[in-house]
Symmetry: C3
Subunit: 298 residues, 3 copies
């Protein structure tokens, strides 16, 4: 076993990441329902979601069930009832006595690591507030690998809220391990924090200047809550919005990604272009999570 828990993408080496991506590839036919495999039969996963995240929860549930395993979900009402009556340590201690693996999502940074310290079984972090969401990063890398044929030597633009987006921060670190050229496209006030720029090589650009060269355009949501003024938000959001027209000068094989849900940042007219890969990206979460579950359980 390469790792017992999966809490942060930074716990993984370059080699660990490649190992998971290759394993995910082997599971892809099973994820698509084309082949049956019951390698996790008799194993039980507990989904402990202390805040809702439909896509992530359902994708873990699908991954587990496609491999023959079982899933127990904590309900929202149970989560809030627990939050009132018991420490997270006690909850995890007990539930780890029942099941074989715990997937946790929690609004507080650090809670997944904390949970892993009190669990008798592997813990997978499905997002802990401003903290980490390593399975998202792995499925992003897998999408790039499948759609671009490699995860090295690519020109990748990250666009939108680069300041607060957990998804972007983890992805930049991972992309950097694989020698990609990274472009940043963000409004003033939502730029990538300085500390990242010390670690990773990336430059701030205008989309128009790089659209003909880039292989990947990774779009994230700009959240209204970040702006003191609605008018200001609308102006910014409007100019960080992708349409089919935006992509006219793009390379044939440019792919557009988005962690979803999207609001307005990608126009629906992009959906029908050959560039749109955000729904496939959501699907790729299934084989990647199958690989991770297989890794910690077998």
């Amino acid at each position: 076993m390469r790792f017992r828990h999966l809490i942060s993408i930074e716990d993984l080496s370059r080699d660990d990441i490649l190992h998971i991506l290759r394993k995910a590839e082997r599971f892809e036919d099973v994820a698509r329902g084309l082949k049956k495999l019951k390698v996790l039969e008799g194993k039980i996963l507990a989904n402990l979601f202390f805040e809702p995240s439909t896509r992530t929860r359902m994708s873990f549930e699908t991954a587990m069930k496609r491999l023959g395993g079982e899933v127990i979900n904590m309900t929202a009402q149970e989560a809030s009832s627990i939050a009132k009556g018991e420490t997270l340590a006690d909850t995890v201690r007990v539930i780890s006595k029942y099941v074989d693996v715990i997937v946790i999502r929690h609004p507080l940074e650090g809670s997944a690591r904390f949970a892993s310290e009190h669990s008798e079984v592997p813990v997978i972090n499905a997002g802990d507030g401003a903290g980490q969401h390593p399975t998202q990063t792995l499925l992003d890398l897998y999408t790039i690998m499948k759609e671009c044929g490699r995860i090295e030597g690519l020109k990748i633009a990250l666009m939108g809220d680069l300041k607060y987006s957990r998804t972007v921060h983890s992805l930049i670190k991972a992309l950097n391990m694989f020698n990609n050229e990274i472009y940043l496209i963000s409004p003033e006030g939502l730029r990538l924090p300085e500390e990242f720029l010390e670690e990773v090589k990336a430059e701030e650009v205008n989309l128009n200047d790089v659209i003909e060269e880039i292989d990947v355009l990774y779009v994230t949501r700009i959240q209204k809550e970040r702006f003191p003024d609605e008018e200001e938000y609308r102006k910014v959001a409007g100019s960080y919005r992708i349409t089919a027209k935006t992509l006219e000068r793009a390379k044939d094989n440019l792919i557009v990604m988005h962690p979803l849900p999207r609001v307005d940042e990608i126009d629906v007219d992009v959906d029908k272009t050959k560039h749109a890969k955000y729904f496939d990206q959501a699907f790729y979460g299934v084989p990647v999570r199958m690989a991770i579950l297989h890794e910690v359980l077998i």
Copy 2:
């Protein structure tokens, strides 16, 4: 495959309906837990219920599991979180990447059809507001077939709210395809809308005048919200209420049906009579949904 999606009972031909009812009959022993069949092993159903409907959701879940399939439920909290953050089209696009069939219930008419247009897998309508609820109609027909021995040439009385009841509207159309004689028993103000009477042959009667002749008495709930005045509601509801006494002059093999939940429209003293078939009717939802799932998945 006779149909890819099941959105409206009107999408089905007379022959399609008979095909499903016969298939349901073959699954009945499995539905009763008397036989095991794993014909849907490895398949996954997603229940997307944007409003609660315990009976329908549980009956689909039972149907899928009795055939060896798996079920993923969206929680109420997830539904409301999605409703705020994403279009129905995007939700369906993503979830149809995970699973093999989607069952949707939604408060807005037309939403099931809309969902099917964005899904990569079959969509089954489990009720869309004032729209359709085709599996309810099929289980109603199945109940009549099993309890009366046929679904043709019967005298069938529909009683209660005939104006707003989606269940009644779909059932009338289906019964009409099979040459039944239809009687309508409803208070003024809750009569069957004119447009139906142009399509189907049915006459308004008093229960007392037909009780000795009818084979089926299908009762539906009269909802308080339909009346501007509580006093008026009570008067009407009181006179559209079935008791054991009401049925004294009925034929021996008259069956009483109800889509449930009932409130006061059928007295509990009817439960013990040989006429009461509304709980069996709920059970018959299982083999009928098994047949539908089998039809779209295999």
Copy 3:
């Protein structure tokens, strides 16, 4: 089959209890995931929880799944929607048409018995208000059997709220069937009700006077709501609190139990002592519930 439904611990004979405990022991390796057994394959359990109880629900779900069975959960939203629209009798009548066994938790005393009278399948009481919670009592006995080697001739102290605690009342009755010496440690106002003292032999003591002799210390929560005054609560709760220091003079093999969740009544410094068995106790719920499900289903 020794019993069809499991509503109250008092429905079971001494012999029935021993039979379940022995059966649980045979399932323990399966509960730990060390062995696979699909003896309940094809069977479906419905969890009808009208109030949240994560531990109990998840433990039943684990038990059923470890034996190859399936589980259908009613959601909290469905529960409240049912509560508004339908009698419990009708709900149980319908759901017992779908599944093979019902586990019910309900805030009203007597509701589990009532449900069993309207069900076509076995009903297991998972707590009905001030009423019974028989599977908790059985797992408490099982914990004692496993950790003390026997359930007879022990010195057992029950501490905390002995007046209102349903858990304590059922446990005392069961322990009494097996000739144990029972000590009671409770604040004034939360003493064991008189009627129990007529049935069972037990004496009120101070913990300090018996700590060197007892084999089991069963701690329960003292609830703030029982006190008219917060200051009074704090004083009482503070003096009914176990720490590692409290246990210094205890026998080597004293076990400390707690039905969980705990708040402050057991300090976390006890967790690391050899005496702490409350998390194991939670685990033991799984084999015990497996035994009960097997008993009513096979």
